[in-house]
Structures are given as C-alpha cells and as structure tokens.
C-alpha cells in the first residue's frame, strides 16, 4: 500500500507519508437547527505517498481542495474516510493526545507570515516555543539551538529580540521555517509558502527550502497554485481538480506529456516570461463548478474540450498510464467511444 500511486524510483529512501483514499467532506448546515443540507466534497478519495528527501507538489486552482488536503494530512482536520500513515504509523483515528508525539514529526509552513506568527511574542520565543512544549532542551542549550536555527534560515541572532512586525515579509517566512524546523520533523507541509512574497524574495525562500531539504532529508508536501514554482521545487507533482487528484507523475513526465486535459490546459494557461515564445493556448471556458454540487461523471467534463459521453456519467479512476504516471481520464484509460 505504501507503494501506491507512483513513488518514483526507490533508491533506499523510506516512505515518510502515505495517504490512501483520503476524503474530507464538510457538512453544509442550514436553518435554525443546523440541518445538514449537503456536503462540500473538499477532498474526495486522494492517494499518494512521499519519501524522505522528496517533494510532492500539489497544484490546482482555488477551491480544488489542496489546502484542505494539507490540513487533513496533518490531522488538523479529522478525515471523513481514508487512511493516513506517517512513518509506518496509522494516524487516521488517533486522539489529540495520541497525536502529540506524531505532531513533532510533521510541521507546517503557512502562506501568510503575518497571521501565522504571534505578534506579541519576540521572534526568538516563537522558535523556542515548540522546544518548550515538548520539553526537549532548556536553558543555554535551548538558546544555542534557537540561535543556530536562526542562522540556518538566514536570520541574524540579534533578530531574536525583535517582534514579527519588525521583520520584512521574507524574513517572517524564514522565521516560520525556523519554527517548523525546531522539532526536527520528517515532513513539512508548506501551503503556498512563497505566494505572498515578491519574486526576488521568493527566490531566496525557495532556495532555502531546497537547501534544508538536502541537509535534513526532509519530505515536503508543497501546495501552490504557481506551476513554475512547483515545477522548480518538486520531484513529483499531483494535479487536483474539485477535490480529486486528476494526474500525478514525475515532474518531467507531467511537463513533457501531460495526460489529463485539465493539466494540459493549466500548463498552457500560464503566461511565460518570454516574449518570443509561440505556444498554443487552450482557453478553458467557464468556471470551476461548485464543490457542493460537483458534476456527475468526470468533474472536469463541463469544461473539457475533448468531452465524450462516458465522461458525463462515469467517474474515471486514477490509473497508471505509463510507469509512475497516473491519470484519471477516460480518454487515457479506455478506448472511449465517440
């Protein structure tokens, strides 16, 4: 099971996280007594795994469920169904107390470095707090550890006494990364960690994340809407649409031959910073349907330029089309009748 959904080459790296059929439905409540009138199918049967030192990028547009996926993997939300295995331990149904030990293994870096840092806490304390919660080190040892974390992420030691509002956006994101690293985790879920940053600063943070991965053999679940950033940092990439993974593959395979029409359209829609580039753009019509009432069959059929009859009725399964390259599309997995 741990080998599910295309691990890529093995080369002796252990699986850090594996997720199977993960489902997260939110009830939609109505009226005075909060009757449940429907569900938001935020994450709907997602499976993947990540190895040590590997980055799995998750791309998709707003509302596709990528953020919910990250939160559910970290058990910040209790999944509706499915299984989450972290370093061989099934954590799907653990109580909060039982989760405590596991939480050290998995940390998160958030998009907005403004709202994810306590404004009343000095920066040094923000990084020291996780160490105190787990009672790992104290006194001078703790100070030294915090100082070395500051140095490692490119902050100066005298910034320990500052408050988050005194730092720039990029420095705040470095601080968030230092906090995530403090407990020496094996998995970091990074949800749009560079989206709020200017490009020149974005490059600094991306480089830092890559360096840290190499140094600490970290596994990243890297969630972003920016395809170029995801391509740069990831080893494998999962493309999500309306709560489902529609394609997952090694990044080279995905970028050289996208198999799902949505991936293809997504790639073609990105403006390329090269005025001479000639390309055939696929302009999708319409908007993403509501995840409360997703279309029957393939959720993408309402916008798909190659839609066939079968797409309107039957949900395509995620299947391995070429080695390690999975797609959920009737056009790729069966000889769909016209």
């Amino acid at each position: 099971m741990a080998e599910w959904a295309g691990n890529g080459e093995n080369n002796g790296k252990r699986t850090v996280l594996s997720v199977r059929d993960l489902t997260m439905h939110f009830p939609v409540k109505h009226g005075l007594f909060g009757q449940v009138s429907g569900h938001v199918y935020a994450v709907d049967g997602v499976s993947f795994s990540i190895r040590e030192g590997e980055t799995l990028g998750v791309v998709g547009e707003s509302g596709c469920g990528k953020t919910t996926l990250g939160k559910t993997v970290l058990r910040l939300l209790a999944p509706t169904a499915g299984q989450i295995v972290l370093r061989g331990q099934d954590i799907t149904r653990r109580s909060d107390r039982q989760m405590r030990e596991q939480r050290r293994q998995m940390q998160m870096v958030f998009q907005d470095p403004y709202s994810s840092l306590n404004p009343r806490m000095p920066c040094g304390q923000i990084v020291a707090e996780p160490l105190e919660i787990y009672d790992l080190v104290s006194g001078r040892e703790k100070d030294e550890l915090v100082t070395s974390l500051f140095e490692r992420v490119g902050l100066s030691a005298d910034q320990k006494a500052r408050y988050p509002h005194q730092l720039s956006g990029g420095q705040r994101q470095r601080l968030g990364i230092a906090r995530a690293l403090a407990l020496n985790p094996s998995l970091i879920v990074a949800d749009e960690p560079v989206s709020a940053l200017d490009v020149s600063v974005q490059a600094q943070v991306i480089n830092l994340l890559k360096d840290l991965q190499r140094e600490f053999n970290l596994a990243y679940l890297f969630i972003s809407h920016d395809l170029a950033v995801v391509e740069h940092i990831s080893h494998r990439i999962a493309v999500m649409y309306l709560g489902k993974v529609v394609e997952i593959a090694d990044k080279r395979a995905l970028f050289s031959s996208p198999l799902h029409p949505y991936s293809e359209a997504l790639l073609s829609a990105v403006p390329v910073p090269d005025p001479g580039a000639k390309r055939d753009q696929i302009i999708l019509r319409g908007d993403v349907p509501s995840p409360i009432n997703p279309p029957p069959g393939c959720a993408f059929h309402t916008r798909c330029p190659y839609v066939k009859d079968i797409c309107r009725t039957e949900v395509p399964a995620l299947q391995e089309v070429t080695e390690g390259h999975f797609a959920a599309c009737h056009l790729r997995t069966s000889a769909a009748p016209d």
């Binding site: 547009e61 480089n207 403006p271 580039a277």
Partner: protein
C-alpha cells in the same frame, strides 16, 4: 455599436505623457516618497506594462494619474500629467470627473471590493454610461447589456439583474472591465487585473483585454508584478524600483538584453515553466537578489538599488544615476550598464 464610434488615436501620437512625477505620502512617521521622478508616455493602441515589486510605486503612479489618491496624506509634489495637451494635475475637479471613466478608466485587482455589493451589476455598468454620456436610464441599461455581452458574459440580460456576490471572481472582473470599457475610453489603466484570479481564468481575462484593445484601439497601462503577463500583453515596459524608474524599453529588448542590474536579477529570480525539461534539468538554485528593498522613508543617496547590486561601485552609492538612453528606445538608470553588458550581454 455606440461605444465603437470614437475613433482610435493614431498609433504614433502620445495619448498620455507623465513628466517627472513625484508623489509623497505625509504620514506621522515621516514622508514616504512613493513616486520619485517618473516619466513615460503611452501611445494610442499600445500596451505599456509597469512592473515592480510591492512598494515600488507602480500603483501610486496609476492613482496619481487619475488623481484618486486621498490628499492628504498623499501629495503630488511635482510633475505634469499631460492628456490631450492639458495637465490633469491642474484641472478643476469637475473637469477631472469628466475625464475619469469617460476618457481614462481604471480596473483594480480585487473586483469584489470595487463593485457595489447592493446594486445589480447591470445598473453599475449603466450608471457609468449615464453619468458620462448623458443617456436616458433605459438607453444606458440596454447599452450596459451590450457591454456585458462584449466582455463575454453569457446570458447578459439575465446576469445584468444579478448582484456581485452571485458571480464568480472571473465574472466580476469581466463586469469591472465592462464598466471601464463602456464609454470606450482612450486609455485603460489596469492595476494587477488578474492577480486575484486563477490561472485558467487569468488566461480568459487577458485574452479578453487583448481582444477589446484590438477592437477599440484603447491604450492600456498594465500594472503587474508578473513578468509572464508582461511578456504576453505588453509592447513596452517600465521597470520600477523604490519609486524610481530604473529601465524602460520594448518588451523584446527588455527580456533579451536587460540593461539594469535589478531587471537582470528579476528575470533570473523567476522560476521558469518547463525548466525541468531543459538538458540540465533546470537550474538547481534560483538566482537571488540578496537583501531587501530600502525603506521609502529614508533619504536615499545614490542609486536605490546599490546596496543589493553586484555591479555597484563607489559612485553608485554616492550619485543617483540618470535615466538615459543607452540604445534607441531603451533607457536605463544605471552607472554600470556597460559592466553589466560586458558580463551578460
């Protein structure tokens, strides 16, 4: 259609000329010099991109042109903005109101906050037509529906009766464009028009803007931080840094042969799509621009980019560089352009 009646300006004639614009914000903590001597012109039917990172002064420049900044705290300290030979900065408010929306209009990044939440979108489009063109209510409303059709809103007559919250982000931005284009302005200022949108919706909106521009001959000032959008949309580019213009050229020139170290750094720091397919599998590390942007409250002596620049010499830290023509149609404000070209040209 009535909105097509105005004739586009000839492509060689400047629609708008900005001359040495200085915009300051007087805050309790001191004066923020948001725009520091910006000069450019835009010709009919042309798209001019203004790029820069947050705080570079690109939005303040746009808002200064339309005099939409709250004064105080803002103050346009000096400069001229010439439209049809008249300086917009000296026009009486009533005349300026006639220019806004009718001759020069603007679209913003967040359509939800720029639309009236309690007015149907049809009425919002009609309002602009009625105010600027003095048509009857009924006539304005029917022209509004035509305008909605023009921006690709399906079932326009039906949609005109809906409120902004009933529409998706992409649809709302189409409404904003319909309002902006309803009076067929000669100049459209678009401030990060697609930044809040998803990439497939962004592609729709950019295509719509190109299409409208070609049909109506509108000149566009496109403010963006996205170099991909610049390459796709613009003919000419102005690069801003710390409230200053650091480079101005055609799009092709800028991407092929940047002449300012900041532009060079910016181009190098963007991750490229399909980089993994290159023979070396894409560069392992992105090029960084070390350091951070200077505070706009401090007096900047010399070149604002010097503390972060790999080419900076003693002169750069002491004397502000002049924006000068380095090549036909290619201006840069840098003392060390030659050194840059020797290394990267």
């Amino acid at each position: 259609m009535a909105v097509l009646e105005k004739i586009a300006a000839s492509p060689t004639e400047a629609v708008l000329k900005v001359e040495d614009l200085h915009t300051h914000f007087h805050t309790p903590d001191g004066v923020v010099r948001a725009v520091n001597g910006v000069s450019f012109e835009i010709r009919g039917g042309e798209t001019l991109a203004v790029v820069g990172e947050s705080g570079s002064g690109k939005s303040a420049t746009a808002l200064s042109i339309l005099r939409l900044l709250a004064m105080p705290p803002a103050k346009i300290a000096s400069g001229r903005i010439l439209y049809q030979g008249r300086d917009l900065l000296t026009l009486p408010d009533t005349e300026m109101r006639g220019i806004r929306g009718n001759n020069i209009s603007m679209i913003f990044q967040e359509p939800m906050t720029s639309l009236d939440p309690v007015m149907t979108v049809g009425k919002q489009v009609a309002e602009s037509i009625r105010l600027h063109q003095g048509t009857s209510k009924k006539e304005a409303l029917s022209r509004a529906v035509t305008a909605l059709e023009l921006v690709g809103i399906p079932e326009a007559a039906q949609r005109a009766k809906e409120y902004p919250f009933q529409l998706s982000g992409g649809m709302r931005q189409r409404i904003m464009i319909a309002i902006a284009m309803a009076c067929n302005p000669r100049l459209l200022i678009a401030d990060e028009p697609t930044t809040a949108l998803d990439v497939t919706i962004q592609a729709q909106i950019l295509n719509l803007m190109i299409d409208l521009k070609e049909r109506m001959g509108t000149a566009i000032i496109l403010i963006t931080h996205d170099l991909g959008v610049v390459a796709e949309m613009a003919q000419r580019v102005v690069v801003m840094y710390a409230g200053r213009m650091v480079e101005e050229s055609t799009v092709d020139q800028l991407f092929a042969r940047p002449m300012h170290p900041y532009t060079l750094g910016l181009l190098g720091s963007v991750p490229r799509l399909y980089s993994s397919l290159e023979p070396d599998g894409g560069a392992e590390r992105l090029q960084e621009i070390r350091g951070i942007v200077p505070s706009m409250r401090d007096d900047i002596i010399g070149c604002a980019f010097a503390p972060r620049c790999g080419f900076a010499t003693k002169r750069c830290h002491e004397v502000p560089p002049v924006l000068e023509e380095k090549q036909a149609g290619h201006r840069a404000a840098c003392w060390e352009t030659q050194a840059l070209l020797d290394r990267h040209g």
